[in-house]
Symmetry: D2
Subunit: 330 residues, 4 copies
């Protein structure tokens, strides 16, 4: 861990939904400031024209960004485009946080150096993040699912396939113009996608769940849905248990008692309104009645642009620079 | 079955969302007409003031309705208030359709005569509905779930608890003023309710599923959610199978090939936009990849006010009076 | 006027919002049927894949459409692309209705033959439409404004510039993918556009208003706004009067007493919910209090895709073929 | 003006939309803290249960609030209920800010002491607010209209009735359950209300406009509309001018050059998205083309809960206590 009084942040891809949210957070952060920010389509425009209410330098193309003029580069570039910039940041000896999926799942397609990346879920890997120079910021869906399931995974209490039924607001699908994301197509609508357990986030969830479980993890079945809201993810998770659990909430309360961004709900289930605009995850748990084998339903919710993207990136930034974990996020 | 050239319909509770939809459908039906319509809060007002674009008699209080002046009474009254009117209709020797839950699940609290009620899901009980004088119109959530699962239930292919993860538009919660249903609370929101498998519709689903299965049915775990849309239900259903199924869609296509209101999707999953405004149920099926035991995901969607309420009531009406099943619903 | 038992309709541009609405209306019309329908991007696909719930021939490219196989060609093509097809229809001796702006305002840029086009606002030009072979279907904003103002224009009662403050749902902006029309940009938003009285519809409104007034018409100031709804237009119109008017509503009730698609509101102002899904215009009128010179506020509302586009086209079709004016529109 | 290092704030009516927003702002304010907060319906509950993410004392009934334990009482009570509490605060020698309309327009119904209240629009009355002990926080509609019109009013440039066509999100209508504010009634809707220039805010606008103009002010015609959004007001204002104005924006830029919460738009008109979530008013101006007499269109927009209510209250608080005007509002 390193203690810095302040740091200069370079933002790759500041024009998308996560990038704009990140620019807002950094601009208001007491210790960080925007060194430069990139946008291919808006290069040359003032940052404040693209990110309402934020002062900062004019946007530049990524190729024109002075990587070395930042203490940390945060990439909000699309999947597939981000890794090469992370490698350049590494070459420039600059810390980096990648919001894309490129470095999250070490595998055949990931370059060797990418194995240095720490999975940036602070509630699970706080110490390693603080010591790292390269962080793979988690996906939005995995963030909620892993924090919801970690207490059960750690204790080896899950006895069969876990169903993760998830719904996300449309900012999760990015800011490029697509007919299927137009208002007249989304309003008054609702749909499932990647049905059949084939979503890209599945591998990420499985790899991390196995890590938490200390080896073999339960199988996961994941179905995302598209909500007619701007932001927010809510996951309804069905967990078969080896045996019934008493004092249901106690495990979550024990595990998360000192976590500033985890709220375990005692009296009711969480809803989007409990988290949108904040970096929190909110979690509720209920035993399933009227079935013969023990089963839990967990409801977990986050703001996909904050705890699911830019907020979590700032939380990681705070850890990497030795700052208070909640600075700029309260 | 009886053949009538036309029929006079009495509507109990025409001021709620289902009641207004029913009034619209009956007003446009080629063979039915509104004999009278009731509303406790709007008695005395013209029907057209309450149901935009519909001509008809002034609204009356239920106590003032001439039951015998209708050939069929359709009740859109709330659960708990409807049964007594169904009994009066029976006493007046008038056919009746009940949209409330009062007569759907024969049980301790249901009066003896209510066992005469036929469960009004035409795709399952067409002949019995045509011969009946009293129909219990199905709940919105059970309609979608039962039509989605029937091909599997009939063939005994389900091997474990079925997860029914459902989401509904707000008209499903009724038209009485409640703070939690106000625009500023619902817009940009999403939430689960009755978490833990405790929703009233569960008993109805279980009873009907057992009937289709010819006895013991698989266990059901049902979680409803509240969507920020006016109308529409989408259910994502996870079904563990005894063994893998080839030609996945074939069973649904075989069972529903002649059904005018069932659409089996070949190329993609259905979404709300495929059904809102119509009396159709749309069903898609996918094998779950990346798990060891065979499992299906089914997505089923209906308009909660049409196939889930008033539209299905008209479909039942058509059967009860010997009319074409799609009359007034195309 | 000609009496046909039925007619074959060709639809140019059936994939946009107005085109799809038109396809739905024609498919359900008792006397019309779709001869062919075109879409450049979806040519080759079944019509029902693009227009949910509508059976019909596979979509073709406009160049491949057999103009002469239709009794009437209806164009839902964009402004600037439509006129040439109207000319071809004329060459093929086929009736035609143009939903674009191309033929609405005779002017320098309009070809000579286009002066044959009748402005298709039935409440103003019913007899001429019935006799015509070429109809320019009015713009959505002008339809509402002209029907609201006609009683005053006819009687010469307006004494100064009329302010037309209008708001439209997003389907008015078309179905091509644009970032500014994406859900995350529109939801929870509201904005004015073409501020400063520079919108294209102004010339159309002025020309028609002058026609109704029998010469010089009052000046118009028109500001459109973009609403976060799918469909519907509401205009709030401020009219300075030469002198106060008694029995305010009487003029509108007199002028529109036999109009099937005009609803003059007696007790309250109309809202989008009074017209969306119908071919009606709803109009309310109030004297402006608390000012020294006499002034009226008129509120007028239509469904931009029906009375503002496809519904009005069918109304014109009914007139052109001698059918009942409300056929297929009830 | 008094300089305090910090102050204790009492909030009357913390459960409504403005009250909750105020509680959030005060909780995060570097110099203010919540001394107590009242809610009749939620008394006894933790503040954080009612205002998500805010720590603070349990809610009490207004009768049980220790007025004297606050340095400033801020009332978010409804119109008609607030004045008596302002009088009690005055009796307890405590500063007070009233968000209701009760003290805004001195008149027959206002008690004599209420004339001491300063109209809390800082951009107009900064010095007087700083010296006052009782502030009448402006209405949301008047805030936007007055800031838009002040440069013209001051210079006496307006030559006739000004049309203020306004639209507001539903939080402006309060948090009490009403059928007409339910999601299913508001979504996909839009409507005008108080048509005919009869809204309560008119008197407030007229009185203040006259004050700015130094006597007689132009007549105002005001029509509010209800938008299907949670928050935000946008006003489109039509101003007849005595003569054309060159360098249109210059007056607004001159008058507001040092105002932290006024944004004059140079290149485009403002929209809700420019202000929602901030305490800013954004203003755009355009000359009206295609009319004979000179006229302007002004578009002004605010967040009705911030600059239109709680944010402006904090701005006033900052002035009253000698703090930086933007503290807690950045």
């Amino acid at each position: 861990m390193n203690n810095y009084a302040s740091a200069r942040i370079g933002i790759l891809g500041a024009g998308g939904y996560a990038g704009r949210e990140l620019a807002r957070l950094v601009a208001r952060h007491p210790r960080a400031r925007i060194a430069w920010a990139t946008s291919e389509s808006d290069a040359g425009r003032a940052l404040g024209d693209v990110v309402s209410g934020v002062d900062g330098p004019a946007l530049v193309r990524a190729e024109d960004a002075a990587l070395g003029a930042a203490d940390c580069v945060v990439s909000c570039l699309p999947h597939g485009e981000s890794a090469k910039w992370m490698e350049r940041a590494r070459g420039a000896d600059v810390r980096a946080i990648d919001l894309s999926a490129d470095l999250r799942v070490p595998g055949e397609v990931t370059p060797g150096w990418a194995r240095e990346a720490v999975y940036g879920l602070p509630e699970l890997h706080r110490a390693r993040i603080a010591d790292s120079r390269l962080v793979a910021n988690p996906g939005c869906y995995p963030t909620a699912a892993l924090l919801a399931l970690a207490p059960l995974l750690r204790r080896g209490l899950i006895s069969g396939p876990v169903i993760v039924n998830a719904a996300s607001g449309v900012t999760g699908a990015g800011r490029n113009a697509k007919r299927e994301l137009m208002f007249a197509e989304i309003a008054e609508g609702f749909s499932a996608y990647a049905v059949g357990n084939v979503h890209r986030h599945l591998a990420e969830m499985r790899a991390q769940a196995a890590g938490i479980a200390g080896g073999a993890a339960p199988e996961l079945v994941f179905t995302p849905h598209l909500l007619p809201v701007k932001r927010g993810i809510l996951e309804t998770i069905y967990v078969p248990l080896a045996e019934p659990i008493r004092d249901l909430l106690q495990m979550w309360m024990d595990d998360y008692s000192s976590e500033p961004f985890v709220r375990v709900m005692r009296d009711r289930m969480p809803a989007l309104a409990d988290v949108v605009g904040s970096n929190r995850v909110a979690i509720g748990v209920a035993a399933v009645q009227n079935v013969s084998a023990p089963m839990l339903t967990i409801v977990a919710t986050i703001d996909n642009l904050l705890k699911g993207a830019a907020g979590q990136a700032v939380q990681n930034l705070n850890l990497m620079f030795g700052w208070g974990e909640t600075e700029g996020l309260a």
